[in-house]
Symmetry: D2
Subunit: 368 residues, 4 copies
């Protein structure tokens, strides 16, 4: 069970997160920040609010205030170069439902795996495996985005599929930025967003849940990020994105379409435009040999349907060692995809900021 930094992520910029769903708080310590970076608590709060539950009929009604507090590392509104410690207290937590089903393994959840691994652990609300942990990631991501602003790098994620409803066209950066925050499913196309909402509700009415696909795009990424051989940019992004709860797959550029393509289709031709080398296409997703090329980074992740459903499920009581049926009470997100959007954005921004620091592209000390 040696976790060996299981709760830390990043190399030069490093986040260490802590907290369980039903403990006092969840938090993050960010080490390796430059000094003098201006941070606005309101902006961090804004990012956390985006992932907060209870925002529409398609997310869980657990009403959390999720108020971000900064405990160290900020002085006169600027980072000090020392660890930035932030936390959010857990407020609206009702542990009673979890007592009742303590020994009943919820299908699709980590209950059983954690029980075997830890013997003793905080089973309430999924404990450390709960989606609640992602609050820490979003706080860290908000700080990473501030670092990326210095280089005019923008990272945006948006929902491109919900259940069997897909976004057909490829939207522009402007469309994604303009539209994907204005509907609860975080889709860049308002019409498709409506269809997606409807599909979620239909499935939810049957007591069941659905999944989705999230695209993450980063514009303005300079070439040269990522390190051969094991810290390739795509390898590190893959780790970051797959580590998000409920994500079952990740692909870059042409991804799983690549196997059926030919080399002559797949290879992005180089051209010269206005005296600069450019690519005519972006099947590589902005990464060749694990190093960024200067083209937009394009990643896509598969989000599985929410595990907690009110449909009756076959499972076992591991204490009594007997087969039982389980109907999960209370309401849960009928589709978690929209809440994965800010988390995917946060993790991608964190990886890129870390790489930019490693490359020396972000100064050690921000100018006054």
């Amino acid at each position: 069970m040696y976790k060996v930094e299981g709760s830390s992520f990043g190399r030069c910029l490093r986040m260490t997160t802590w907290g369980e769903s039903h403990q006092k708080a969840v938090g993050v310590v960010i080490d390796g920040l430059p000094s003098g970076l201006r941070l606005d608590l309101k902006e961090i709060q804004g990012e956390v609010d985006l992932r907060r539950p209870g925002q529409s009929e398609i997310s869980t009604p657990r009403m959390e205030e999720d108020r971000v507090e900064i405990l160290s590392g900020l002085f006169q509104g600027k980072t000090t170069g020392s660890p930035l410690s932030m936390l959010v207290y857990n407020r609206d937590v009702d542990s009673r439902p979890y007592e009742k089903i303590r020994d009943i393994m919820r299908p699709g959840h980590a209950d059983y795996a954690c029980r075997l691994k830890y013997g003793f652990h905080d089973y309430r609300g999924g404990g450390r495996s709960s989606g609640r942990e992602t609050v820490s990631r979003v706080m860290a991501g908000a700080v990473a985005k501030k670092l990326l602003q210095y280089l005019d790098i923008r990272v945006i994620a948006h929902t491109t599929q919900i259940a069997d409803v897909s976004l057909e066209k490829t939207p522009s950066m402007e469309e994604i930025e303009r539209n994907s925050r204005s509907n609860p499913v975080r889709c860049s196309d308002p019409g498709t967003a409506d269809l997606m909402m409807k599909r979620i509700q239909e499935i939810s009415c049957e007591g069941d849940s659905s999944g989705g696909i999230v695209d993450v795009i980063a514009w303005g990424v300079p070439p040269g990020l990522g390190d051969p051989v094991y810290n390739k940019l795509d390898a590190v992004l893959a780790k970051a994105l797959i580590s998000i709860p409920a994500v079952k797959g990740v692909e870059f550029g042409s991804g799983f379409k690549s196997p059926a393509m030919r080399g002559s289709e797949m290879n992005d031709p180089y051209r010269i435009r206005d005296g600069r080398v450019v690519f005519e296409s972006n099947n590589s997703g902005g990464i060749l040999g694990g190093i960024s090329t200067g083209m937009p980074i394009v990643a896509r992740i598969a989000v599985k349907p929410t595990s907690s459903i009110s449909v009756k499920q076959k499972t076992v009581d591991v204490e009594r060692m007997e087969e039982v049926d389980l109907v999960i009470e209370g309401r849960h997100d009928p589709n978690i995809t929209p809440r994965v959007v800010p988390v995917a954005e946060a993790m991608t921004a964190f990886v890129l900021a870390d790489c930019c620091i490693a490359e020396g592209l972000i100064p050690h000390r921000f100018p006054e």
Copy 2:
């Protein structure tokens, strides 16, 4: 350009690899091995031979002997608990073709990204970005497999798609083991293997290349491997697999099919069989909440078509800053998928062995 351990992988069991395509040798140093593990050079050589080029008409005719040498860490046929250092000398290397195209960026390769990142680097044969680097991974993987034998864990990869030819049925462990090493494409079904071979050759005759999909399965994996939150087993495997050259995507269990499934379909029901808890299905791919469940680990990776093709490509000469056409001379693998198979196997075995050591499942000292 701070690589910060870019050439090292693993936590308790750690490999550090080195070597470039046209330098004297490629090698690996493995630290963290238990003492007293019996290692047979022949077995390691056998694994390296599986990835060796020049084995059939569908792989590059660069005839390398690829003879593994052990320089330290082995005494009387057993590991000493000190770093195991292994290398393979590069022999059949002709650097001249690379001199000619030094300033011409090969589409699909890392040339341009490396040039921007390093300024000065060994461009010959792709240097450190060359597939040649994977020899080191395979040597390390062979040692990892020996460790896994202690726990009766078996890791096998096989080709399930080549271009548009897919393996239809799901083969058994026995079929994969029996068949996938007996044909050049590493497919578990002999009939499909023939179709795949034919397809590779058809495309190759046109001077073009194709890609494929490789499935990696691990049987006998104990529950409890993997650490929340950032070192989840699937997250670490994703990093390991995406770091293999030419891999553009990875998925676990139902992967990219999950978004369109419902929770009630996706969730693997728990049952009791012979007094033990089992799962009725394996949509999770053997991993829940980032922790192994005891079911087989199932991962799938997308391999892009070989970048080096003899079809004429549009590119640029970055020294002269002018657009040029490129026809890559010599012969290259028309499809790299079969040679990715042993590498995917090696990386998966290494991750699992590392996790087993972390969990204390593999002894510090092997019995006499």
Copy 3:
């Protein structure tokens, strides 16, 4: 300024600390803990109280309550295997004196070095370089000691020199345990403790400060801890101990006396007693080739005189770039050595617990 984990320590057991002297709080996140370890907040509080200032006439009168709060990782009084997050709020902080001398470099302090390194930082009270940071270490050390109890390992530090007053005889474990907590200088001999107290006060009356030497001993350490080549037990302990503010040197066993000894004196002879291999002496300090031998670990650290003194000092105002005289107002510890004692103990305990986990000597899951 890439800190790259500058605020984290440990390999399997890992502490990440945060907090600055005049920020809201100081804290620690401990990752890699086994699950099921019973922790008593009162015991942790007891350790923190030992380092608290304001306990006698020889330490600073800053009256801090230093109340430890646990925010995550503990459930029903036992560790969950998830990160343990603890903090202490900073209460009695008066930042005004620091405003006045913001640009005047205090000799012996890190002011100037930090200013050059960070440009912008929290200069109040030394910021991250303040001794206040050691609260986090002591909290982590208290948890490490609980882990070591499982193996009956005891770590005790005590003061053996203050200014020119030295402890002459070598005390037993019992004497150190019994006496060194019952006097403010933490010396194991009551008579010497009185002389030490007197000496501190004499020098303090002149507005000056003094230093001291702390011995750290660990009994019951099993053989085999420590890893060749760079993570030798003494190398890791040296890093841990030198990282404590004000420590200027560290030695093990015969230390700086070894150079003038002969091999025949220095080498500890092996003997057999009661059927077991023992050493006849302990010049090695319990470590040979960087690996524990089973004998007590003996380390010794040199603590420099407190930098803040009321004697007039020559320094510079770096803003005006002019030479000035500085008299530091307020009261400070006239001798920091006694407060280094619990910190040295904490760091040593943490290193040993980390090594015991690495060796598999501490279980992953504590029994009920």
Copy 4:
């Protein structure tokens, strides 16, 4: 026994060493090097030659050629930014004497500790614990020195004490550079060097061994190196230096003299000279709060007397579990201090180069 990177050192610049005394070779892989750094094999060879045995009557006559080979990472005489792999084959190795005393624990050596730790290991010549391992460190140090040349940083170590013979005066940088390489004891004063040589031989004639003290000084170190809290420059140097075989203590600046000093003596006053801030003294050894101040770094290490002596020693045969007398045959270094000099220099240079890279003071790509 999880070594977890026991054979790797450094953060941005990272060396991984391998090899045992009686295995085929010893080597090092350096990762994180900038590209375009001109390296001369002859200079690396020169450093290795300085630590080579058999150079005078005071060192072991094992005649090793110790020829450095570079296997990867160098192209056209310049680093490629990929791992630099170097090795030295072991040639003059006679393993027979070790067979005879396999079960007899040599006092002062790591035999017993390693036996308990590993169970099975390569006991011949000390295996991985042998001083032979330091060849790898010296190769890495030679590369680090090339990096430091870019910033005009010079690191020099010299012997300041042998047995009871001490160097009385403090030599200048010029004296150390000029004189300390021209006598076998590596002392900066020719007269004292003669006395030291004589003392070594007197003790050696009695079949016994002696120890010494080595001072390491680094000039031209820029301010700002080192990271609070756990990666303080002195903490990292302490780890690096204590990890050298036979070193029992380390101190910085006034070191173990500090405890008896007063704050007003210890604190180095700031002054302004030629418009720049300077220190009037260097009791801090060039480091305050773990960060370099711009003054020379001054470290001092205690080297114990060589463990292998021909004087009869009391020990045990652990196989037969009986007490025996041991007279170690063959000739060994009567004093290892002079051979520690280049190793201490190498480790210090490596730490400083690593810190300079971390601070962005060394370019990612060296100019043509």
